[in-house]
Structure formats: structure tokens, C-alpha cells
Symmetry: C2
Subunit: 271 residues, 2 copies
Amino acid sequence: MDTEKEFLSNYHIEDYERPSVTADVAAFMIRTEDKTSYRKNPENKLLLLLIRRGAHPFRDMWALPGGFLQKGETVEECALREIEEETTVKPVSIMPVGVFSEPERDPRGWIISNAYASVISEESVKQTGCDDAADAQWFAVSFTCSEDGNYHLTLEYEDIRLEAVLAAEKTCFGRTSFRILESGGLAFDHAAIIAAALSALREEAKNYDAVFDFLPETFTLTAMQKVQETIMNVSILPANFRRMVSAYVEETDEYVRGEGHRPARLYKRKK
Amino acid sequence: MDTEKEFLSNYHIEDYERPSVTADVAAFMIRTEDKTSYRKNPENKLLLLLIRRGAHPFRDMWALPGGFLQKGETVEECALREIEEETTVKPVSIMPVGVFSEPERDPRGWIISNAYASVISEESVKQTGCDDAADAQWFAVSFTCSEDGNYHLTLEYEDIRLEAVLAAEKTCFGRTSFRILESGGLAFDHAAIIAAALSALREEAKNYDAVFDFLPETFTLTAMQKVQETIMNVSILPANFRRMVSAYVEETDEYVRGEGHRPARLYKRKK
DNA sequence: CAAATAGTGTCTCTAAGACAATATCAC
DNA sequence: GTGATATTGTCTTAGAGACACTATTTG
């Protein structure tokens, strides 16, 4: 076995035991709610796509969309494919969140998951109207840190309410990993994946990357601020927000009129 | 197939095609060089462990230590195991860097790599004296961004000099991914993994987490500053560095004497 | 006009960069 | 004393939080 060619022809990769590999995706959307008065600006709601499992294990429980890695694609491509299959919508962006490989995480066997967070634009979902599948629903997200240091993840859709509790383990490289204290009825270790994805999304929103992903081409600064506040679960003074984002946006000559108050200038992302 | 138990007993995971999964580790160490004068403080050098491949493919080329994921372990445990097997040293810390899953990245077949960066303490390497294997060497690292925006990675050990050139692709979530323009004689896509690991290490050094990993229990602030400067490839004014880290360290009553100049107080990491 | 949002100016506080000045040891 | 590092003080600038104020529209 002297040349590389000979070596490779004698190399049988099937001789080694291998895990199954999946990509699971936390797909986020921000929905603009209806105005409560002709004057007021609408509120935003952060939503996460969950699938009701039709098969064992965890049948009838809610889980992240995902599926097995296929030959010839990268795990990122697999994540994109899975989310497109489920929503018929192409995500605006997708970012890696972590690898979940605890041996006992899936009762079917040795299955490791590559977790991604992705951003879906409200526009594209409205256009395709992919809201009809009963087994796929957008859940309203709440993710807060309580006094005892644990994180509470609440997902709500109509009368369904999933409440998970997580402990922030150690933080590595800006990202936090979470240990599930209560799964809240979510399948597998998906509560931990969702927490990590939200944590990643918030990190990515600090430099407004994730914020722009949720917004259309042009937008008002108030709309942008509301997206930022929705993702980060904070409130910001308008004057300060405007100053902070001024380097990231540029003016257009367009205005939004007919809102019952002073028209707002439309901006677009700079460069 | 009605109950979960029945489902699982009929579920044959082997029916699906699966990739091989590896963990590859960029293990970093900072070596304190000899003093050039009895007065002067020693310089630091950032080192990376590379293995000369004894088998095809890429035989005789240099590669990151790594190996296949085994049943019953997480990918992080696999990374730790691989680096311990190679150095007989337990890393101080390990952090995920990314998943590399391009279908063509390994000529042996469908193999995806989970990349990690890890920090090895100089002390532990000195103790075990694991420096004798000719096929495993610590290479001096240089990683800089040139005017044209490309990154130059240079690894040197005695008369061996590996020079890779990389383009910073898109940046996602604070981390950058790299595309290899010239591999510089590194095996597989390891030049891109090393660049991503260095990028992650620098990110982690911003809040001094990675810096403490390289330091012993107690240390002088000048030693800490030199580690920070070595990792980040910058130089900092001592007065400013001291102010910036003051919240992260606490004084001890110990001093380092006999260095040919004013003794320096020893500090330890706070909390 | 009233209600609501759009947008600007500015005070303060803090953090970081630059740099000057002092302190202390081994030889 | 000399050479080197250790350590402190302070000037300046940039950025963010707080808040007051003005501008503009629709019903």
C-alpha cells in the first residue's frame, strides 16, 4: 500500500461504526400585530416554528423542524433544506448554534444534532401563506432569566403553552449552553437547543445583523427599534437608539404617511 | 405500531446512510522564551500542536490532532480524548469552533469534522515532557490580516514553514469563517479550521477567559498582559491594561523577587 | 386642538487611549 | 547609580443612558 491512490482504493469507511447526523433549526419570525388604535404603532411578537411530531418517539409532542443529513450536502445546506421543506420559505439567514451529541439524547439511537438558528421574514411567510398545516405552528416566544439564575422559556400558541426551565451551564466564547431542568413538553433536548438559539440570536442582534434580517428592504427607525427590543427583550430610549444605529443605516427619500401621526422617514441598511 | 416501545423495537437506524464524524482540535500553548538579559522579562510565543500524518491521504503532511467519534461519547469528549491521547496532557479548556462538512473535504469519503480550540498550559507540558514524538510538534503561530483583506497564517517549527492564505468569508455571530486560498501544505481543510480556531481564541481573549486559561494559578499583571498581547497580536499600554483587568483579578500578598528590577505583585483570578 | 409618533439637543457618566511621573529592586 | 520593570495619576476623547424639547401629521 504505497501510493495514495492504492490506499484509498483499499479504504473501506463502512468498517467503522458511525452516528446518524441531523440538523435541527430554530426558525424565528417577528409578526407585526394589528394596531390597537388608528393612531398607535403596531406591536411586535417574536415567533418560533414548532412541528407536532406525528411519529414515535415523542409522538404528539412539539419539536423543532429538522432531519437527517444527506450525502453530498453540508450540515448548513441540510438545515436550509429542512426549513424550506417545512415552510416553503427560504430563510433570510441561518447561523450555527451548537452540536448536541449526548449519547442518550435520542431514544432511537446514536443521533447527533447540529443546531441552527434562522430568521424568516414576515413578508415571505405572508406571500406563501404557509400557515395552514395543523402540525406546524408559530409559537410566541418568551425567554427570561429569573432571580434564581435559571432561564424560563415559554412558548404559546392559542391554548397550548409549553414552559421549559433551564440552567445556564458554563459560558464559552460568548455563547451559553443550557441544561434542561424541565422540558415543558418539548421533544428530545429541543428546549436546550431553543434556549441556545435564542441566546445566539440575541448575541447576533447586538450588532444589528439579526435585526436587519427581520426587516424589509426599507424601514422606519422606530420599526427597527421595535425589532431590536423584541429580540433582546429590553426597552431603549428612541434618541439613544437612533444615535447608535446611525452608522449602520442610510436615509432614503421615502416617507411613511397616513399613520395618524407625523410621517416617518424610511431608511435602508448601509453598505 | 402503536406504542412508543413497539416503534423503537422496529426502528432500524442502520437502514439510513450515515457520515463518519470526527473531532479535530487546535491545541494552543504559550511558551515563555528564555530571558535575553538577567534584567529583561521573557517573551512569549503562541504555539499550535500539529501531527505529521503517517498514513494516506496527505501522508507526511501536517494536520491537526483528531479522530473518529466513538459510541457513548459526546463530540466534546471525543475532542478531549484525542488531545489527551496525543499529548498525555489534559487541556485547561476546550471550545467549539465550527462544523466542517463540505462533501469533498476528505478524500476517504463522507467525513464531517467538529472543530475545537483548546488551551494547554505550559506547566503541564513541562511536567509530562511530551515533547519527544517526532511526528507531533509545537509550531509557532502567526496570523495576520494583510492590506488586501486576506489572512495569512504562518506556522513554523525549526526549518519547517507552512504558509496558508485565507479569505474571510462572511462573519456570522461574531465568528468568521474562512475559505482556503492556499493551504500552505496543511492536510485536508485544516488551514481553515486553524484560522477559525485562532479567531475564536481571540474572541474568547477579549473577556480574558482564554487569557486565564494560559496562566498559572497566580501571576503578575505584566505576565497576564503579555499573554493577552500574544494572543491578540496587539500591544497595550500597561496603565490601561491594569485598569481594564482590575475587575477580573484580585491581589495576593506574594511578590516575585530576584528578577533584576522592582518585584511584581502576584495576582489571581477573581471569583 | 388632541393624540400620538418623529426627530433633535445636551447633560452626565463611564470606559478606554495616551502619556507623564514615581517606586523599587538586582547588579 | 544604572537599567529595567512595577505601579499610579490624570488628561482627553468616544459612547451610551437619561431626559427635555421641538416638529408634524390625522381625525
